[in-house]
């Protein structure tokens, strides 16, 4: 089953701390939404409000069209998968997965059958009698997923479920999570602070910062067309050159660039967009430092026009950067963001 969510101007304060600030968000049924943001930005708080573990200071949560703001967790059509999985260590896997059904008064036999099915779904068909501590991290994660799915929720809330896994396993579990979501069709709301994970999973990414939503959109959109400086920086390394727009051109430390802008404006260019060719000429620069990073060389350039500035560029693996050499730099993609202040 699945349901749409509507989050309407939610505020949340803990004493003096504003954990959430005027959060509005519409989520369609069956979407895979990722909440992305740095530590402390309010992701867990928002998720807890959706799950019913916290009551917002003000605002409304509608799930499947019904107001659920003040409904107890046990009566909501949501289930949560916790970062530490929160499996019950004293129960076998079958009992873990069947716990929600047991609380709903489902008989032992039916419950065990259903739990067995779900364990099979997540790829652990014969492990029902084992205990959580006998499993690897990745396997535990799957059991937690099976347990959450067993009660057939409309919305599944996932709080950094992959945070504790190592990189290799994380990649693998991302693939599986995505596959399972497609199969069951439930709305997934997934919290992470890892932008790669967000891009790998999300239909839409919600970038959060200091209790506010900064940006919402498909991964590619957010990476290439960020709406705010924060969102741009959080999605990956980026060069930022501050300038003053004059209407026809942008005055920057590199000189006047042929970009239509007005007022205080930041020119943002990702390192991989910089190289020997492109549609925006940045002028000559000296290579001051280079390190091989496997897939690319990470290079620091000092523009001749502004030797104090540092521009980071990723040159292809096949390049042979020579420290001290001077090159003409071009950018083949860029973003302009007007600073409000």
């Amino acid at each position: 089953m699945t349901a749409a969510l509507s989050i309407q101007s939610i505020d949340m304060t803990f004493g003096e701390v504003w954990a959430l600030h005027a959060v509005d968000l519409e989520i369609e049924a069956g979407e895979f939404i990722v909440l992305l943001g740095p530590s402390g930005c309010g992701k867990t708080t928002l998720l807890s409000i959706l799950g019913g573990f916290l009551q917002p200071t003000s605002g409304k949560v509608m799930i499947g069209g019904r107001d659920m703001t003040h409904v107890q967790p046990k009566d909501r059509p949501t289930t949560t998968m916790f970062q530490d999985y929160a499996l019950f260590p004293h129960m076998s896997l079958i009992d873990n997965v069947g716990f929600g059904l047991r609380m709903r008064g489902v008989g032992k036999k039916a419950r065990h059958r259903r739990a067995g099915e779900l364990l099979a779904l997540v790829g652990l068909p014969d492990a029902g009698h084992r205990r959580p501590h006998e499993l690897s991290g990745g396997q535990r994660q799957r059991v937690a997923l099976a347990r959450a799915l067993a009660v057939d929720p409309d919305v599944l809330l996932l709080d950094e479920p992959l945070g504790a896994l190592d990189l290799k396993l994380r990649r693998q579990m991302q693939d599986e999570l995505k596959a399972i979501q497609r199969r069951v069709g439930t709305t997934f709301i997934h919290v992470t602070h890892d932008q790669e994970e967000a891009m790998a999973l999300a239909d839409r990414i919600v970038v959060m910062n200091a209790g506010r939503i900064e940006d919402v959109g498909a991964p590619q959109h957010i990476y290439l067309q960020p709406r705010t400086l924060f969102s741009a920086a959080f999605m990956g390394e980026i060069n930022r050159i501050d300038g003053q727009g004059t209407g026809e051109g942008l005055d920057t430390p590199l000189g006047r660039l042929p970009l239509a802008a007005n007022g205080k404006t930041a020119l943002l260019i990702r390192p991989e967009a910089i190289g020997g060719s492109g549609d925006l000429a940045l002028g000559p620069a000296k290579l001051v430092d280079a390190a091989f990073f496997g897939t690319h060389h990470r290079c620091h350039y000092a523009p001749v026009a502004a030797p104090e500035l540092r521009i980071v560029a990723h040159l292809p693996q096949s390049a042979t950067p020579i420290e001290g050499s001077v090159t003409e730099l071009y950018a083949d993609h860029h973003v302009l963001i007007v600073e409000d202040r």
Binding site: P73, K74, T78, F82, A86, F88, P89, F99, M103
Partner: protein, 257 residues
């Protein structure tokens, strides 16, 4: 050099620690009325004597009952309080913790005297249960402290998960929180049991006719010098050590894994 010294020190220390116990056990087999050297050869008569002593045996039974019941109550109260203080932001949490721990930092004699005053004032007659109340007072801080330290944030999420899956508060406590704390619960219960089992002054001052084993042993010691005291002591030692080893080999070994 220092290595050799270490081993010598260890051996001497163990010798010191086991000397009185060794003597105790040895002279429990004394074939004679005095548990002092010379040793007159092994005899089991004092064991037979002790096992046949109605008062000693009933004191032993009383001790078991008081220890089990008072530890169970202390454990239950301690568990609930630990859960309450660890999970809820109540005003005055620190003060409550101090009050709950305080009896642990006070001599038993003071607790016993206080309770005696209370009972005298209110006209409550002394019995095994009045001593049991005292044992709960001394064991409650212990159970509370052990469980409070054991309740971690990782458990919090498991509780939330249970709620999320539809469990009521009582079910959360019974089906999730308590079982997850089982190792600490066992440890707390075992320690409380040991303390209550071996406690003298409270039991001495707060019982009347039915007394616990330490009190009975005390009067045994005061009413004649016989190897019976050795035999009782050795038996108690044997029972507790077997229990300890059993726990060590089963429960705690599993827990540590």
């Amino acid at each position: 050099m220092t290595r050799a010294l270490s081993w010598i020190y260890l051996a001497l220390a163990l010798g010191f620690i086991f000397l009185p116990v060794g003597m105790l056990v040895l002279f429990s087999f004394q074939d004679g009325r005095l548990p002092v050297p010379p040793f007159n050869g092994p005899s089991l008569r004092w064991y037979a004597d002790v096992l046949g002593d109605r008062r000693l045996m009933s004191a032993l039974g009383n001790s078991l009952v008081v220890a089990a019941v008072s530890s169970a109550i202390a454990l239950l109260l301690g568990f609930l309080a630990a859960q309450g203080l660890a999970r809820y932001r109540l005003p005055g949490t620190l003060l409550m913790r101090v009050v709950l721990i305080a009896p642990f930092t006070v001599s038993y004699l003071i607790i016993a005297l206080g309770l005696l005053t209370l009972y005298n004032r209110t006209g409550i007659g002394l019995s095994l249960w009045t001593a049991g109340v005292g044992h709960v007072v001394i064991n409650l801080p212990l159970c509370f402290a052990i469980l409070y330290a054991a309740i971690g944030d990782h458990h919090r999420n498991a509780e939330r998960a249970a709620r999320d899956l539809g469990a009521s508060e009582v079910k959360v406590l019974a089906l999730v929180t308590a079982p997850m704390l089982m190792p600490s619960m066992l440890a707390a219960f075992f320690l409380s049991f040991t303390f209550s089992w071996d406690e003298f002054i409270i039991a001495f001052l707060l019982t009347r006719f039915d007394v616990t084993l330490p009190v009975e042993i005390w009067s045994l010691l005061r009413s004649g010098l016989t190897p019976r005291a050795n035999a009782v002591g050795s038996l108690v030692f044997l029972v507790s050590v077997s229990l300890l080893l059993l726990l060590e080999l089963t429960v705690f070994r599993k827990v540590r894994r």
